[in-house]
């Protein structure tokens, strides 16, 4: 009796510990850090001092002061563009890989994933060296006689930021889309053809609908990563590279305005959460097998 009681208590303790970890770890590593800057976003900055006086001034500043809102909207626009192009490109690439033999699939997929194993900074520098005035692209076009003198606008322009972001985050879209396609049973394709569908009809009615979760995930990844990136725009965009991420970053650096920076970060977070929610909404009709 006594021992079974003790065992009950031990089980209870173990279960409790398990729950504590289940809830505690996300709390410790995710919720608390996020909450901390949400809290800071409501504080007041006065004469370079952070005062614990609750205020909405930081959020008001976003809507009224300087270029916060325009830059925000521009960055949303840029990120949406990159997302659109990346998802289209990645879907095409994923379909291409999907149509190869299993052995080739792995090789091609791996070669597209290779950049994920490289340092971010190296990738940005190699993009710079391709787009620069004496870069690969300009030299090649010069050599081919397509242009008379190097195009400066390739680097340090909005186009440069666009290209760099698209190239940088392509693997993050290819992978989920490919994985979604890879889960389509081979029999479905056979059945579709057997019922009279052309390859194009099979693509539209079977492959793309079933790839939708992957496409949504790829879009969300690209949007979030692009929207929050503050290094790439600066390194390849020069003075043009003033994106929302860089404004947030500068509030914690040069401007040393943590409350405003936190408020802008909250807005950034809210935007990405909105993107995730929209993606989730578009998948509501999914039916598990």
């Amino acid at each position: 009796m006594n021992t079974s009681l003790r065992r009950d208590r031990q089980d209870l303790l173990r279960a409790g510990l398990g729950h504590a970890l289940n809830l505690g770890l996300p709390l410790l590593f995710v919720v608390i850090p996020i909450l901390s800057f949400v809290v800071v976003s409501f504080w007041t900055l006065q004469d370079g001092q952070i005062l614990l006086i609750p205020t909405l001034a930081n959020y008001r500043a976003f809507f009224t002061e300087g270029s916060y809102l325009p830059v925000y909207l521009q960055t949303v626009g840029l990120s949406l563009q990159v997302t659109l192009v990346n998802v289209a490109l990645s879907t095409a690439i994923a379909l291409f890989i999907f149509r190869r033999t299993p052995r080739m699939r792995f090789l091609i997929l791996m070669s597209f994933m290779l950049p994920l194993f490289m340092s971010y900074i190296i990738k940005v520098y190699s993009i710079r060296s391709i787009l620069g005035q004496r870069g690969l692209l300009n030299e090649a076009m010069l050599g081919l006689g397509l242009i008379d003198q190097p195009i400066e606008a390739l680097l340090f322009s909005r186009t440069a930021i666009f290209i760099a972001l698209a190239v940088l985050y392509l693997p993050y879209a290819i992978l989920p889309i490919y994985l979604a396609l890879d889960r389509i049973p081979a029999n479905y394709l056979a059945a579709s053809a057997d019922l009279g569908a052309t390859p194009m009809q099979t693509l539209r009615a079977v492959v793309l609908p079933l790839g939708r979760p992957g496409i949504a995930a790829g879009a969300v990844f690209t949007f979030i990563l692009t929207f929050g990136d503050f290094v790439t725009p600066q390194m390849v965009g020069g003075t043009q590279g003033f994106t929302f991420g860089r404004i947030v970053f500068s509030q914690f650096g040069l401007a040393l305005n943590w409350p405003l920076g936190s408020a802008l970060a909250v807005i950034l977070l809210a935007t990405t959460l909105l993107a995730v929610a929209l993606a989730g909404l578009s998948l509501r009709r999914e039916h598990v097998r």
């Binding site: 056979a190 053809a193 009279g196 009615a205 079977v206």
Partner: protein, 361 residues
């Protein structure tokens, strides 16, 4: 009469492995044809070749006299019921069933009407709005059938469609398939490794083994008169007793075995006296009380009597045939009540019930 479908001397290789070796198959209109074979026999490859999922390395594939080998899957006038049904899980039952008409660009109203009609035919009238995941195995099977028949193909291909169902549902689906095939009047080419299923369903069975056709014919003919050792042992239970052909008189053969002189009959060209043969006799055809004075027949000792409900299976042996178990099936009535292991009996059968099989040299 020209057959609906004709596979003429078809061969198929995967790398160095020959999976089909000169297969000849004809399918007649309205016929329920079963291709029966063990796994690895090439039966699924035959189906995949007809469906267009595999090409051929030799021979030809003709549909009503037209060569089909260059016709892509989506233009072949057949539809397939896949082993795991391959229902699109992101579409409702109605969308699945109507798919074949939709890709042909038929008007929505026509599709809806036909879907309702075909769902009625397979007994799923009201379930068009469900998703495949919300249905039972037997219902999914019916959806797959409905999807395959909606475009009114001349022939449908069925790849072991009943193998995933439990025993009771299987029997029910067998009856349903057979009645559906009769009602629709289209040819079914049915693939299975289950000989009972093949016998119960088919107008004609083609037995394949190792990429070749062993024998073809009506179920009863194959069962009663197997011509090869493979067919004899694959379709139902059979006792195969080795011996040499002693004499032949018309169809009637006398075979010398280690256990005595036995009677059998032969179909088709008979081997020369002196060649190695097998006598195939079904457990239900062996008599246990043959006249000991009869010149032909063998004696045996009861090794085991197994009660199987309606039947008993009696296992016997003869010291002259080491390793061979002779099986006899009897109704479980009073006639076998006294039979105990160790009892000596005299075995015999009507010559017509025993088939003479040639042994490949």
């Amino acid at each position: 009469m020209q057959p609906l479908l004709h596979l003429n001397n078809v061969s198929k290789r995967y790398g160095a492995v020959r999976v089909l070796d000169g297969i000849d198959i004809t399918v007649a209109d309205n016929e329920f044809l079963t291709i029966l074979g063990p796994s690895g026999s090439g039966k699924t490859t035959i189906l995949r070749i007809i469906g267009g999922f595999e090409g051929i390395d030799g021979g030809s594939l003709m549909f009503e006299g037209r060569d089909l080998s260059a016709v892509p899957i989506n233009r072949r006038p057949f539809n397939t019921v896949f082993q795991d049904y391959a229902l699109f899980h992101h579409m409702t039952v109605a969308e699945n069933v109507g798919y074949g008409l939709k890709v042909r660009g038929r008007p929505k109203a026509e599709i809806a009407a036909r879907v309702a009609e075909v769902l009625d035919t397979v007994g799923l009238g009201t379930l068009g709005g469900r998703y495949p995941a919300q249905m039972s195995g037997g219902q999914r099977q019916r959806v797959a059938l409905a999807r395959a028949i909606i475009c009114e193909p001349r022939l449908i291909l069925l790849d072991e469609p009943l193998s995933a169902l439990d025993v009771e549902l299987r029997a029910q689906m067998q009856r349903f398939l057979k009645s559906l095939q009769r009602r629709l009047g289209i040819a079914f080419v049915f693939i299975t490794h289950d000989q009972e299923e093949a016998i119960a369903l088919s107008d004609r069975i083609i037995v394949v083994n190792r990429g070749r056709i062993e024998q073809e014919g009506a179920p009863e003919e194959l069962y009663r008169r197997p011509r090869t050792p493979f067919t004899a042992s694959f379709l139902g239970d059979n006792n195969l007793i080795p011996g040499t052909l002693a004499a032949i008189d018309g169809r009637l053969c006398t075979v010398d075995t280690a256990a005595g002189r036995l009677d059998a009959t032969v179909d088709g060209p008979a081997p020369a006296p002196g060649s190695a043969v097998l006598v195939a006799v079904r457990p239900e055809h062996v008599r246990l009380d043959a006249d000991p004075a009869a010149p032909h027949g063998m004696s045996a000792e009861v090794a085991d009597v197994r009660f199987l409900g309606a039947n008993v299976m009696i296992e016997l042996f003869n010291p002259a045939l080491p390793g061979a178990v002779i099986k006899v099936r009897r109704l479980a009535d009073g006639s076998v009540a006294g039979l105990r292991p160790g009892a000596s009996v005299r075995l015999g059968w009507a010559a017509d019930d025993a088939a003479l099989l040639q042994v490949a040299p």
